[in-house]
Subunit: 384 residues, 4 copies
């Protein structure tokens, strides 16, 4: 919020609407450490937002002369929305870096395990074999999609004044004003004031929910594959237990899974807040504040955990191989249909064990991987 | 689903993997009127999806020879996902047409009321004046954003076979197979089978929730402005009441508002379904079916209602003018700060009425519209 | 809706406000098969609800004399809300029966497996041993909680007239009127018209979401225990796969899990609809219709699936016993702390294998079940 | 969490399983001011929960002898769940007090305005007259319902040990142990450990969402009635605006409305967390933490705001009366049907104005209040 106030006064100065002394006084006053956050929060209650007491403090701090150039022409929402965009911008930056790191680790894992066979599982049951390479490249594909969506969100500065007409800025041309403010704030330029046109918030909601889901898929798979009975992967950065010295819990995947359970609901609140009546709504805007903060926090944490998780994921091809044999050939029953026809295959499966009745080569799971490798290579090549 | 099955056999024929007689037999058999939907639904319970009984019926219908080429190599999810994409594609098409119609009507209203002053309202209270043109152009901006997002969603065909490796397709190169199937289905080509990489569903979720919110904003404003005490707009296609002969209810805005309350939650379920374990999940996929259908239905209905609403919206500038005078000048109290200083303005407001103490020109709401017209023109020009 | 209209005219007749001939004519007319549901739906659009065209048809059907006693004094919402309560009442009845059946099966399983040891799992890892009896009795406890909550929901008739004042009923005392209508409708008597006091809907929302979650816990566990690698339970009513003859999918648990993913979001919409402005809201009420229907449908289906699932659940104690040995004693590492102290236990675990260093009796998982049996008995006794 | 740890050691002492010196040492050590919350939070990441570092600190603080009796036999979730219940219990207490205050203010308003006529509004339009008394008593009815539901939530202590079998407590009878711990913690006694039987959390979720909705209805109405054009009520504790000296914003209703938009989604997450696999889940439990905290915070704030709002709500009967006349008699068009028949009434309404054609007594809105007063009295009497 302090950065938004400073950007506004700087923009006014650029346009010849404020003296440089005011900019200087405000820049000096607007240092976070000068403010008592808790006291601001308490004072925020009366007016229903924290900008009112903050501006009062800032005006008092800059002295009488400069006070007139603090928050000049603006409304509380201009500052709060701009501040939200600044917070979002820096969080998204960190998030994107983490997603890139995750994607890189997953590409490495996909290449390393390009030909590592493992059980493909559907509805909890062994279906047909697949490879860990295809699995990893699938995770990567979702993570790259998430990165694409997050990086594409346009985060504009907000400036509209009391009801979005910029009336209190007098004769300053609106185009120049919006451009100057956006530039000073380091944000995109808005086409219109967006007090109740919540495209940026909704876009963030969608991209954050997408990212939570993308990482949630990775986590869900790691949790399955980490199960004691399956043990095909281990998060070597896993957490301990005070009561059970043997345990190594997949803590990072767990925390990602927890985030993936929460963010869709938060995104729902943000999408719902688009339904904002009038020039500023009674509730829809206020409902965004803590919701957006929690969503950024959860997805930011999930991405960091995913970066750690993928950097520390140990894959156990020998366990994958062992699990492939658990059904004694049933995992390739689909192949029997192709080779022997549907009816005979079903009959053989019923009478079991298959090894007694079928050419062992037909039962080898490692030779029934279909296009797994082809698809892995293609996905790595096309999204290099 | 029938279209998906036909597309698959056609793709196989194109690749020399099925005889044209099979295509012909299947095309003949796959006519919707030959199927008893209720019976299929009941039979779907046992296996947990409707493709299993449908394929059984299709195979029976095409005769023994062609049966081998029906659903060949595919899994239920290939058909159901492809079918969902086909339904989505045709719904999105209608939706986009309706949104374009809405945007066009709103551009017309914005131009017609480019200079029509009305009260800007924040937190339910008159704030400062604005124009109906700016309001309409803001609605339009959201609707164009929604259109952009919906039109950008990529809807790919689905083909992976039992666990996403295309193993049952034997030696057919996966690239050619996916391309041929997508072409025959009339959908985008997938880079990877996406049984548990739910980017298309999540993107639809986001775009649908965005659209519901964009239309929800329009509806929320129309509902406020339609209130008996405000009466600044009328939906002339409004609904009657059997009990009260005088009533004309803003039914279309009401139905849009109802959709806007539901779709964010449905989108949340869809985003949540990204967290889909294994090569096919136990529940996450199934949770998408009715959720996506309801979301498409609700947003489709909302867009149609919005097209009707905006085509039939009567604007009452004289009521807007009258309402601007309700506060006897207080609506421009902000201007008094600029002209007289914060302290004196506050004092005058407190002692009231303003007309007794202030130059009447200062109290004229129609001359305090700020950049409303400038912003309206700019928004109409830049997104023509 | 037809039942609600008939109940209203019957109530009026009881109170001497309608002739018995009108009741007779309406009862005759109000047979579902006389109505074209699709046509009603299409005609419902104009006024935004289906009661308006339905009443028009009913009035036409009963003849001029009786027409005045059809829907007399009522508003559309009276009929639609009463109809929703009637649908809810009969669904809840079926639901409760299914939950009782589930609880009975779980009690049987708990008794049968009162002493069957199995691995307790936390964060996907073997923790310490538990029993299947304790697991089953825990599931039962949630199911009984769900039953309790559903059975306690009070479902009242709705009658308020145009704005909840019953004005069009003239001199009929409101107390008698509400009582007579509720009695004829077979529903609870409302204290006040509840057009915008949505306690019954919110209570249903909460109880349905609770039930979905209770069954969702059961399903989640069955899905884990059904995994090919774990195989501790089998749903013998499981579903087949057209492509893979060996597969027996836990379809019922999957469909329950799918419901559990959707219902919380639907409940959220219903709770959100409590925020209903005025005497009848523009959207909040309309958002309930399809949401409540889907919630009832999903939870009803989940309960039926749970009844089938628990009736057909085969438990494999020998697999449980085998899995207990997978960690070669580590599953009782907690006991080593008690016996040997935290430091030594941790050291032993680290150096492993435990069997080389520790008294085998200490490593026997079947003698470290704590109070599992005690708790099982207690839960069966206290909620018999 | 500190209280939970102390309660556990005290319970052990009561049962003769810990020396009183350990209780003393722990009580001394467990003072909140001795802990660095931020450092604990950072150290919590590794194991995925804050209890692990907290117990480490506590054990270090109490000295070697007492350390063995700190967290003895317990698992992290025992402490965190018990702590959550303690926080919930104290929040619910404050909440209930605020709700009682709100209900009392609303009873007063209902009595004061038992006969104050105002427009009943449906779908934003004047429908028929009602009274402010009936409105206030309806709000009160929802608030009492909310209080009833919140006060009925059973908040039990949590104790199960590593996997819910209490195995590490050795021979201590589970019944005595659970009873003693619950007593010392000041919470209800659990029938079973509820690590993955989340009835208390789900019940809280339902009751909190209900309360948010109940207060949301009140807020929605206050926001409508506060509109500049309607002005039938004023929140005299309303908030100011720095830019517009005349504004008095209905800030409290706005903040309540904002909470009502968020809590249903949070409740959805909590209901969703019932689907918790195994003896402790990977994500479902963790997703509850911040969600429950935010829900308690939002509803607590909403209740406090509602108490302030209702204590400071000024009602303007003269504005209500004036608004009743806005439609020049149309608001009682329903009465014309009863008096003149449906067809003639509709014709008169069409030709308008009514005053020219109809007996003025028929057009008096204050004599068409139906059972409003009767219903108000009844609701006040029956829930005194």
């Amino acid at each position: 919020m302090l950065d938004a106030e400073v950007a506004l006064t700087r923009a006014l100065a650029v346009l010849g609407q404020a003296p440089s002394s005011a900019v200087q006084a405000l820049t000096e006053a607007a240092r976070p450490e000068r403010f008592d956050v808790r006291a601001l929060a308490l004072r925020a209650r009366a007016g229903g937002n924290p900008v009112i007491p903050l501006v009062a403090d800032l005006r008092a701090a800059v002295g009488e002369h400069a006070a007139a150039y603090v928050h000049r022409g603006a409304t509380s929402q201009d500052v709060l929305d701009t501040a939200a965009m600044l917070v979002a911008a820096s969080t998204v930056q960190v998030l994107c870096d983490d997603l890139i790191a995750v994607a890189r680790q997953l590409a490495r894992l996909a290449r390393e395990h390009r030909d590592t066979p493992m059980a493909g599982r559907t509805l909890t049951q062994h279906a047909v074999p697949t490879t860990f390479g295809l699995k990893a490249v699938g995770w990567r594909s979702l993570v790259l999609d998430a990165h694409e969506r997050l990086a594409a969100v346009r985060l504009p500065a907000q400036l509209g004044g009391a009801a979005g007409t910029l009336a209190a800025f007098g004769d300053v041309p609106s185009g120049s004003l919006l451009a100057a403010f956006a530039r000073e704030a380091g944000l995109a330029e808005p086409l219109l004031p967006w007090h109740t046109l919540r495209t940026p918030i909704a876009d963030l909601a969608g991209a954050l929910a997408f990212t939570a889901g993308a990482l949630g898929k990775l986590a869900a798979d790691v949790l399955v594959l980490s199960r004691t009975e399956i043990s095909e992967v281990t998060d070597t950065s896993g957490g301990g237990s005070s009561a059970m010295p043997h345990k190594s819990n997949p803590v990072r995947a767990t925390l990602i899974a927890a985030a993936a359970r929460q963010v869709p609901a938060l995104a729902g609140v943000l999408f719902g807040s688009m339904t904002a009546e009038d020039e500023r709504p009674s509730g829809a805007w206020h409902a965004e504040w803590q919701t957006l903060r929690e969503a950024l926090r959860l997805v930011g944490g999930a991405a960091e955990n995913a970066a750690q998780l993928t950097a520390n994921l140990r894959v156990h091809p020998e366990r994958m191989r062992a699990n492939l044999d658990l059904t004694q050939g049933l995992i390739v029953s689909e192949r029997l249909i192709a080779e022997l026809g549907r009816a005979e295959a079903a009959a053989l499966v019923k009478q079991g064990p298959l090894s007694a009745a079928v050419d062992p080569a037909l039962l080898d799971p490692t030779t029934y991987l279909g296009a797994a490798t082809e698809l892995t290579d293609r996905a790595l090549d096309e999204r290099a």
